[in-house]
Amino acid sequence: MSDATISSGSAGSTGPSVENPAPLIEPPRARTGKTPKSTRTNFELYGWLFMRLSGILLVVLVLGHLLIQLVLDGGVTKVSFAFVAGRWASPFWQAWDLIMLWLAMLHGANGLRTIINDYAERDNTRFWLKMLLYTATVFTILLGTLVIFTFDPNI
């Protein structure tokens, strides 16, 4: 292993200096103008709770969905337009698919939101990634809901 090579000729170049030795980490909750105000809401609490509860429900909904679609009655080969049309004739399966769509999308979106919060390094990146996420989520949920409610088997 090479020993430390200390270059003394680095003075003058930009970067860390005596006053600012290394990449500065903003102190937590330092009350600058840029610091968001404390929210005083229970949003994060509800978000955390939602992840747990929707997770439990999704285990039943998704595994049941996969079982019906891919395993029972001849497996995936039976899935066709007619099969879907037949299932959506019943309000029970409409409700099943609707709840699954909403829970899965919100669960996934909230999970991605926390991942973006954790991994995005710059505020701008974080903001735009989240905007993209919210747009995609809202679009998918609305489109799916529209299809479930306006599905016409005689199309």
Binding site: M1, D3, E44, L49
Partner: protein
């Protein structure tokens, strides 16, 4: 008399052959803002008894080889919490880590704890850490007249928060937390542990306020239960459990 002498003489060469000293390499992350912009690894080979601690090795290096090596230590007995550092990739107290326990055959890496600004070598700026600590109001808050004698408490009530009273604020947990690493805005395990110590104290009356503080965006809900903090704690505090208890208190308070 002669027999004992013979015996010791017989043992003499063997004991000398089995010298307790070994040669260990310490690979230390050096950073001096006055001479270089980049931190570099520097190797020090020292003769040392493996039953000594990493802190003893650092002392040996500083006192006998390179006086510019900079690190914090105060009591050197695992109580003050000054010498938390990343030894072989894990946060530990240098004064509680024996060299024989961390495989001295390979180079032993020593670096500053992560997530806080390095000032020099192993010294970091602890201000963000203590700011988070101050923000959870780590002091007793009561109303009414002060009792003339002690504030009495049952043994069971004391037991409720016994684990979290052991914290020495060494920052080993907070600087091992991946959520704290990425923007330093999360309160961090240590602040939550010290909030827990008062939230569950039957004599304290500001539990609600502390819960409210930890309910915010950068509070307990950012914990991902990776258990890094529990693994890192040199005092053996079940840090993640304490954080979960605060979460549970927040939920049961609401529902």
């Amino acid at each position: 008399m002669t027999t004992t002498l013979d015996k010791t003489e017989g043992l003499g060469p063997a004991a000398a052959g089995a010298s307790p000293y070994i040669t260990a390499t310490f690979r230390i992350r050096r950073f001096n803002p006055e001479v270089a912009e980049e931190a570099t690894w520097e190797d020090f080979e020292i003769e040392i008894d493996p039953k000594e601690r990493v802190l003893d090795a650092l002392h040996k290096i500083k006192w006998e080889m390179d006086g510019t090596l900079t690190f914090r230590r105060s009591c050197a007995h695992g109580i003050c919490g000054s010498d938390a550092m990343r030894i072989n990739g894990r946060n530990r107290l240098a004064c509680k880590t024996l060299i024989k326990d961390i495989n001295p055959e390979k180079p032993i890496t020593v670096e500053a704890i992560k997530g806080l600004t390095v000032l020099k070598d192993l010294v970091v700026d602890m201000e963000p850490f203590f700011q988070a600590y101050r923000d959870v109001m780590p002091f007793l808050v009561t109303t009414g007249n002060e009792p003339t004698r002690e504030r009495l408490q049952s043994a069971e009530d004391r037991e409720r928060f016994d684990d979290t009273t052991k914290c020495i604020l060494c920052a080993a947990c907070t600087s091992s937390c991946p959520v704290f690493w990425n923007d330093g805005q999360y309160f961090g395990p240590a602040a939550i542990v010290n909030a827990h110590r008062f939230i569950f104290d039957s004599r304290d009356e500001a539990g609600e306020q502390r819960l409210e503080i930890l309910n915010d965006r950068d509070g307990v809900w950012r914990c991902r239960t990776t258990f890094n903090c529990t693994d890192a704690c040199p005092r053996g505090i079940e840090v993640t459990k304490a954080i979960q208890e605060v979460k549970r208190a927040l939920i049961t308070r609401r529902f």
